[in-house]
């Protein structure tokens, strides 16, 4: 870390000095320390109403910062293409900070490129960085389960059948954690609520997502939410079947003018602007950044027509509580198979590392992770 700080400062100093001597050379790109080119790699289209859009909204906010240039590439698969994209941003556009926004970019692509370009900073949007990884790489992440908990509170007060539905992509830790938090929120206000999960097995599979949403409605669920890359299909299906829904990743409020309650959204621009400011001041970037409502990394979508007064009041109160650090996981909580997770009175802190390792669903969730 310290070695890196020196090299960063040296670089900035030399570029400032270079201005006087070499202003007509290629170093002119670094004309003053505030100039920064940021590269952002997306796995899908930037306007997918979901994961990529959340990052693209933040990228757009970053473009407004003086001295910052943003270069973007979308639809980059999680293959060697990711590495090529990052290298072209570095070599052709002079990117000094690269955001790799998809889970599968990290190993081996971000790690390889980080080792190859030690003077470029790489940040990856999932909590994967460890001490043994290159120091110019790192992770940033929003704890979206806090916002899903707030969604759950609103959903628990909105259901009449007490059956909630969740269309999930893959049974990985962050997805399971969102599912658990959503039900915990619902049960906080409605102890009879249950949650049915259907896994589609893919991050983006519109026809199957529609089938899953329809199957949940047919099974009696009257509030749907999801964790897939683009929630557009799930939200639209819920709306067309006349039930309520909660969003995920970005705002889907326009898609469901009647049934939209609220949604769990990332607020990546907080992190992006923070990093850009750090680099402009010559400060080192943190290798591991994460947070929820308390640090403004996640937010709730403004309430839609589906939100009742009671739901709004309870959800606002829950958000304030989570922001102040009140735990989401409060015992007694059993896992799905009945083994205790937390005894009565015990709780996990909202940033407890144990929650990062979630590999279970809690009691009250129907659905299997295998």
């Amino acid at each position: 870390m310290s070695r890196f700080e020196i090299s960063r400062r040296t670089l900035l100093q030399s570029s400032a000095a270079g201005l006087a001597a070499l202003s007509s050379t290629s170093l002119a790109r670094l004309a003053h320390a505030g100039d920064l080119t940021v590269g952002i790699v997306y796995v899908g289209p930037r306007d997918d109403f979901g994961w990529n859009q959340a990052h693209a909204v933040a990228a757009a906010a970053l473009k407004d910062v003086p001295g910052v240039t943003v270069v973007e590439e979308e639809n980059v698969p999680e293959t060697i293409a990711a590495q090529k994209s990052m290298e072209s941003m570095i070599n052709l556009d002079g990117a000094k900070l690269v955001f790799a926004t998809s889970f599968g970019y990290y190993k081996p692509f971000v790690l390889d490129v980080a080792a190859k370009y030690p003077d470029v900073e790489f940040r990856h949007a999932a909590p994967l960085w460890t001490d043994t990884d290159p120091k110019n790489a790192g992770s940033y992440f929003g704890y979206l389960d806090q916002a899903h908990f707030v969604d759950g509170i609103a959903a628990g007060l909105s259901t009449t059948s007490n059956k909630l539905g969740f269309v999930a992509a893959k049974p990985i830790g962050t997805v399971l954690r969102n599912i658990n938090s959503f039900l915990l929120g619902a049960r906080r206000v409605n102890p009879d609520a249950t949650l049915q999960v259907i896994f589609t097995g893919e991050w983006s599979m519109p026809v199957r997502e529609a089938e899953a949403a329809n199957a949940l409605v047919d099974a009696g669920c009257d509030v749907l939410t999801c964790h897939v890359d683009g929630p557009k299909v799930v939200i639209e299906t819920a709306e067309s079947r006349g039930i309520k829904c909660c969003g995920h990743n970005a705002s889907q409020a326009p898609l469901a003018p009647n049934g939209f309650i609220t949604g769990a959204e990332y607020k990546w621009e907080t992190i992006y602007k923070l990093f850009a400011a750090n680099l402009a001041e010559g400060q080192p970037l943190p290798n591991f950044t994460g947070g929820g409502f308390d640090v403004d990394f996640v937010r709730s979508t403004p309430y839609g027509a589906g939100a009742t007064e009671a739901a709004i009041t309870a959800a606002d109160a829950a958000r304030a509580e989570v922001k102040s650090g009140k735990p989401i996981f409060v015992g007694p909580i059993n896992k799905q198979d009945g083994t205790p997770l937390l005894a009565a009175g015990a709780s996990f802190d909202n940033y407890d590392p144990a929650l990062d390792q979630t590999d279970y669903l809690i009691e009250g969730v129907t659905g299997s992770i295998t």
Partner: protein, 307 residues
């Protein structure tokens, strides 16, 4: 939930899924069937499907008329078909290679022009309710049938009848079975194939517009996820018979609904396996249908895969 109720739910969901999901399979496979009957394979229908989905959605958004969108999707599809037919007419051109090139071209072009249409919401196709007699909401939902599905059934019957009983059907079949024989009869082989491929592209384009304008009912880049390719496999399974194409499309639709339906009644172990059902079915069908004794029955003699 009792076992019986669960079974009913799954069967109902598969029935509903068959009706909801099968239409694109049906249209693409009918189009491919017609093209193959004339003696060419058009693997580009996946690209046509995606482009049809995009163009149908875009036109529906701009004009406010989803049916006009369906028409334009079909016309775009036939333009792709014409391109395929024209290129394959040139000497020493392989129709499979051109098909793959057109698949990539169609998909890429659709993504390029489709950027602007991911966000806006276009008017969708209406559905017809045939379930009013039932009190069961699941049955009612399952019997919300899109007119395109009915059109597809009519088209399948029409193609079956006309291939068998009309002069044009005979011309297409002759061209597909033996180009020299067709030439001897004074038939312009390339012209017949061009028109068949164009008609096939038209159907595939309509299949695409169903995806974006009815179910799942929006334009996204992952919309097709290989359905156009599966429909090509389905033609072989259906032995180039339009009626079998219909049943095969229903079967694929039902198989696609199996995974989510089983999870919804709580049978969720092994969902990866059930989600993979359509693909496993494809593989299984290919293996079964390439058995040595039966593979040529019904296959057009001019097809490069059977030569």
């Amino acid at each position: 939930m009792t076992g019986d109720a669960g079974l009913t739910t799954v069967l109902l969901a598969m029935f509903a899924g068959a009706i909801r999901v099968s239409t694109p399979f049906l249209f693409v496979s009918l189009g491919e069937m017609l093209t193959e009957k004339s003696g060419r394979i058009n693997l580009g229908l996946e690209g046509t499907l995606v482009f049809g989905a995009m163009s149908g959605y875009a036109v529906s958004y701009h004009t406010g008329s989803p049916w006009f969108g369906v028409l334009v999707a079909g016309v775009c599809g036939s333009v792709f078909g014409a391109l395929h037919g024209f290129l394959c007419k040139l000497p020493k051109v392989n129709d499979i290679a051109i098909g793959i090139a057109l698949m990539l071209f169609g998909t890429g072009l659709a993504f390029f022009f489709g950027k602007a249409y991911i966000q806006p919401s276009a008017p969708r196709l209406p559905s017809l309710s045939f379930g009013a007699w039932s009190d069961h909401p699941g049955v009612r939902q399952a019997l919300e049938i899109n007119p395109l599905f009915l059109l597809g059934i009519a088209l399948a019957v029409f193609l079956w009848w006309s291939l068998k009983n009309t002069r044009y059907g005979l011309i297409i079949r002759t061209t597909g079975d033996s180009a020299p024989a067709a030439l001897a009869l004074g038939i312009d082989v390339n012209q017949v194939r061009l028109l068949s491929t164009m008609a096939g592209g038209f159907f595939a384009g309509i299949g695409g517009s169903f995806l974006s304008l009815y179910y799942p009912g929006s334009w996204t880049e992952g919309l097709s996820s290989g359905q156009g390719l599966m429909a090509v496999a389905l033609v072989i399974f259906a032995r180039w018979n339009p009626i079998y194409c219909f049943w095969a499309a229903l079967l694929f639709g039902a198989a696609g609904a199996l995974g989510p339906a089983l999870q919804s009644i709580g049978i969720s172990r092994g969902y990866h396996f059930f989600n993979a059902a359509p693909y496993i079915l494809t593989l299984f069908i290919m293996i079964v249908s390439t058995s040595r004794r039966r593979s040529l029955k019904g296959a057009p003699g001019e097809l490069s895969i059977t030569k």
